[in-house]
């Protein structure tokens, strides 16, 4: 189990509007991760379009890699995109990333089930519980399995 360091978690809505972008790193400014999330939208749209009519997985894997950062993507059936930026030295296993995205998805699902959250509005997510949960995932990504 490689020790992954999450630099940023971004959640992008259906209309490619940013729902939540969190920067965990100390090296790069927030803006950089906004740019990364923005370019990831295009890469994801490309990948999803290329997969075409055959039913593909929700996990998209490594979208692209920059100097010291790897960008991983995941699309839900409701067309919400999760983007995680890592800085790694060793290659990361798919299972680890899938677990991570599953956890993020669970947190997102709990947020959507909140009746005070308007899914169709384009505003970012400001709920304290959501923010705290994402922070917990970003700071200590554990390797244990996620239960449904």
């Amino acid at each position: 189990m490689s020790d992954i360091k999450i630099q940023s978690i971004a959640i992008i809505g259906k209309q490619n509007n940013p729902l939540y972008i969190k920067n965990f790193s100390v090296f790069h400014p927030d803006l950089k991760y906004h740019y990364i999330a923005h370019t990831s939208c295009d890469v994801i749209d490309e990948r999803v379009g290329a997969a075409g009519p055959e039913a593909a997985d929700t996990y998209l894997g490594l979208l692209y890699a920059m100097e010291d950062l790897d960008v991983y993507g995941y699309v839900t059936n409701t067309r919400v995109k999760f983007v995680v930026v890592l800085s790694v030295t060793n290659p990361v296993k798919n299972t680890v990333m899938k677990n991570l995205f599953k956890k993020i998805h669970n947190v997102y699902i709990n947020q959507v089930c909140n009746p005070f959250y308007n899914l169709d509005g384009k505003k970012s997510i400001v709920s304290k519980r959501f923010v705290a949960a994402i922070d917990a995932i970003g700071i200590t990504p554990s390797d244990d399995d996620v239960s449904p």
Partner: protein
């Protein structure tokens, strides 16, 4: 608006535990708030509670709508929007581990099979389409109608039951919307407990 929100927040946890557990007579439950608890045992909820809630919800809307001009419209709007939001949340939760949908027909089939099983423990009995964006879903024994009857019975009973279909209309519309399909859903019933939902999908 707060009544609506508490009602819809009460409904979503019911469904999540109903999907894994059945009627447990006489026992109350911890409303398993969608996995927030530390132990992941599914909490069981008495199904009668859900049925009573659904019944009372319609009555509540009628009681609290004071604007006498557009009474019927307001009640319809409130119930349908309530269903819309619950439908969105349900779909978000239950399409998590599923492979991506291929086309609109796939989405409608998901609603007929998986979503209907989750909510009503059975599938839609009949699905018809004209392949031009109109689908008709027919349920021959709608679960929420099974215990409804009136003295006169027949047509009059069916007419009285229509408001109870507005919430499921919203459910279907919300589910479709969250999966990327904009639609209009109309429900009708000729005789209890049979009912049908007509989905008109917007041309894209």
């Amino acid at each position: 608006m707060s009544v609506l929100q508490t009602a819809s927040s009460a409904i979503t946890p019911f469904f999540t535990s109903l999907s894994s557990g059945d009627e447990v007579p006489g026992s109350t439950s911890i409303l398993g708030g969608g996995g927030n608890s530390v132990s992941f045992k599914p909490a069981h909820v008495n199904e009668s509670c859900l049925e009573f809630l659904i019944m009372e919800m319609v009555d509540l809307m009628y009681r609290t709508t004071v604007d006498s001009e557009n009474d019927k419209e307001a009640v319809y709007y409130k119930l349908e929007m309530l269903g819309y939001q619950v439908g969105q949340s349900l779909v978000e939760r239950f399409t998590r581990d599923r492979p991506r949908f291929v086309d609109t027909l796939d989405v409608v089939k998901f609603i007929c099979k998986d979503l209907w099983t989750i909510i009503f423990k059975k599938q839609i009995d009949n699905l018809k389409t004209n392949h031009r964006g109109v689908y008709v879903l027919q349920d021959n024994s709608f679960r929420w109608f099974l215990r409804m009857s009136t003295e006169s019975g027949g047509e009059a009973a069916a007419k009285k039951a229509v408001p109870y279909l507005w919430f499921p209309c919203g459910l279907i519309r919300g589910a479709l919307a969250n999966l990327g399909v904009i639609s209009v859903v109309i429900a009708e019933t000729n005789s209890l407990p049979q009912c049908s939902f007509q989905i008109k999908i917007a041309k894209s």
